[in-house]
Point group: C2
Chain length 428, copies 2
């Protein structure tokens, strides 16, 4: 089910998230129609894509309250426990405005403000993802965002799963709208009667959602373009094959395009994990999905030492990286690119998906080279402060004029000259 | 030259940075060809768009050294002075990795690492922008980026202006390549023989450059999509009409699509600025450009009080905002959206363009609602750390399993169960 391959074959397993001209054209059409027709287009697309005719896209307060009652207490407890830990971790990410003062009285600084309104996309249809709600909404709330608008596609009966709505309540969502797909992204970007225009759109989705986010980038801000889930496990001979197999399967079950890779220094472990994966997969409800994913994008490779393992992992820049080795902290220094690093045998990736506290929205498809986990700073924006006094003007003005003149921007130089002349006149 | 208009007319002056299907198709073709043909495509497009046939796109060490000699000492001094102030401001933006430890030994944290290689786009052709080089490169160098690749279109004679190359040397660029336009962005995103693939692309450019950056976003990271320059001046009766007019003109001269707006509580100031703009514009080398910009996107509006002025400015979310009022710090609290705020009569915007220290790469076209000035954090990426101990697993494992089961992800639950079972077995 999961092959043992060489380094080259393993690197070929990498996917790219490219879109065809057809996909681009399709999504641009959807966006244009939502811009022009607003809610009418949303209702039409929801009928077309979700197979349900909605009179109102808005989720009422009553529906939210009912959901909290409908969800079993055990799940509500877990949601609140997770929300509390996620909040505590993200509060550590808050940054403050600052200023620097210079001897001549010049003040320079950086203001930090929360975004005013953000949109959170939550996948739906038959799936239910309360954890996605917590992970995308809580950082925005911690940042101080005034209004969080959640969009999620309705189920065939037109409802939203109770667990999703309960999570929205726990996380602090201000408004829930029953709409999904590229049309939901377009609505958040441009605004309709039911969906207010937002400053930023976050949250995972299918290819069309990801492409729509990319196409509205600039009109609004977006988080990184999310791809299929991935895990790389680096393990030595001390690792437990039962744990390693279980963790590979936990990512593989996400979807048939998920990727799960083991890089190990132990040929015995490689063989044992291979066997364990087959044995454990049989017992899984989503075993067939996991099997397909492992056959397509799964792999085990045996390397000479842990340094080689780290280098190979850096080339993959995985979303999730587990270090199941005797000395994980000793290996950490060699890891340059990974969305989240899980150290040691107890730090199984699903703990990070739900309750550990760090965000589970992580860069995929090698983008951990340059993207970061979703965090509070994604919901903050900065602006610069400049307050010059006369002395500083006299010091820096001529330097700025020299640069302005080199760039052929005479009016830039003039704006400084009129002030220097005014001071010179006063001086006389 | 610059109209006095009402609030509504002023808001209609806002531009949007939308691209046509034709523009998208054109730029996608350029990107595809660069991906397929590499340098060959770059040479061909450079001949087509820049009108120069280049044998080598690479700028040699010797050319860089010559440039430093060729530039007049006064300009070199200004470049070094500016670079030093820009470096000092941006060093304040550096952030450190951190961890939080819990009572049971759990360690959670956030690592902060510089990007490894970035590309900086510097506009060229006939224009010369050494300040763009400093402002885009220095934050990357301060962040610790190992390799900064600068791309800029060659002049008709195939050379790059000495001032641009001198600035590259002062700022710490590692490699300069003679290529511009969408093809340069494509080369940085996918890599060619002359242009190494980068992790992030920053720097301003024309519509095609901006669109290309948007289209490669995801393959690499990009800074915000830059539009034409803008300034809003909020002034009361204490403001000097000569200063206000000079500052409006300094932005208007950037290009015919630049925007310069005065919001004032004083009808007298409005009239005096109108007159001053005409008087000063006559003396400007780029007066005709400034005139066209002011006629198309310039405006003066008189409001009832400063609170109204601030609200109107917040709706515009300008790139640059000057507060030329008796108490600028008293007004600051009402300003929610602006790329950079300049306080008081001496803080003319061109000081910020060149020497003040804060970055002059700022969000345009209303994107100050959600984008930030270019800064060190644009060249840093984060990743999460999770290290669970046995106690923490026993505490959080069941909660995570409850959420996994609610999401129908049995393998996620199983990855935790195998560990709880192993501990249970040990317990017996």
């Amino acid at each position: 089910m999961i092959e043992i391959v060489g380094r080259e074959a393993l690197l070929r397993k990498r996917k790219t998230a490219e879109f065809s001209d057809e996909e681009v054209a399709t999504v641009r059409k959807i966006i244009t129609r939502v811009k022009e027709e607003g809610d009418q287009a949303l209702v039409a697309f929801t009928k077309q894509f979700d197979g349900v005719k909605l009179d109102s896209l808005h989720v009422e307060e009553a529906e939210l309250a009912e959901a909290v009652q409908a969800v079993e207490p055990k799940l509500m407890t877990a949601l609140r426990h997770a929300a509390e830990r996620i909040r505590r971790f993200h509060e550590k990410q808050l940054t403050a405005s600052w200023i620097m003062e210079e001897a001549d009285g010049t003040i320079l600084g950086q203001r930090v403000h929360p975004l005013e309104r953000v949109g959170v996309y939550v996948p739906g249809g038959r799936a239910v993802y309360p954890s996605t709600v917590l992970m995308n909404v809580i950082p925005a709330v911690v940042a101080g965002v005034k209004e969080v608008v959640m969009v999620t596609p309705p189920q065939p009966d037109g409802s939203i799963p109770a667990a999703t709505l309960a999570a929205a309540t726990v996380a602090g969502v201000n408004r829930v709208v029953k709409v999904g797909g590229a049309q939901a992204v377009a609505a958040l970007a441009y605004g309709t009667a039911s969906v207010p225009k937002v400053d930023k759109i976050v949250g995972p989705g299918n290819r069309f959602v990801a492409l729509a986010k990319q196409l509205v980038f600039g009109e609004v801000d977006i988080d990184s373009v999310a791809g299929p889930s991935e895990i790389v496990v680096i393990a030595d001979e001390t690792a437990d094959p039962v744990f390693v197999a279980a963790d590979l399967l936990s990512q593989a079950e996400h979807g048939e395009d998920s990727s799960a890779i083991l890089i190990t220094t132990s040929a015995d472990l490689a063989a044992n994990v291979q066997t364990e994966v087959v044995r454990q997969c049989k017992r899984l409800v989503r075993g067939r999905i996991a099997q397909t994913a492992l056959e397509r994008y799964g792999a085990i490779t045996v390397v000479g030492d842990l340094q080689e393992a780290a280098e190979l992992s850096n080339q993959l820049a995985p979303e999730h990286l587990e270090l199941m080795v005797a000395d994980p902290w000793g290996l950490l220094g060699r890891i340059r690119h990974a969305g989240a690093v899980f150290l040691g045998p107890y730090s199984t990736e699903p703990l990070g998906d739900y309750v550990a506290g760090p965000n589970h929205v992580l860069p995929t498809a090698g983008t951990a080279r340059f993207f970061s986990p979703l965090g509070v700073d994604h919901f903050l924006k900065k602006s610069s402060l400049l307050c010059y006094g006369k002395e500083a003007l006299l010091r820096d003005g001529p330097q700025a004029m020299a640069l302005a003149e080199a760039e052929g921007l005479g009016a830039h130089a003039a704006a400084i000259r009129v002030r220097l002349e005014r001071e010179g006149a006063k001086g006389r």
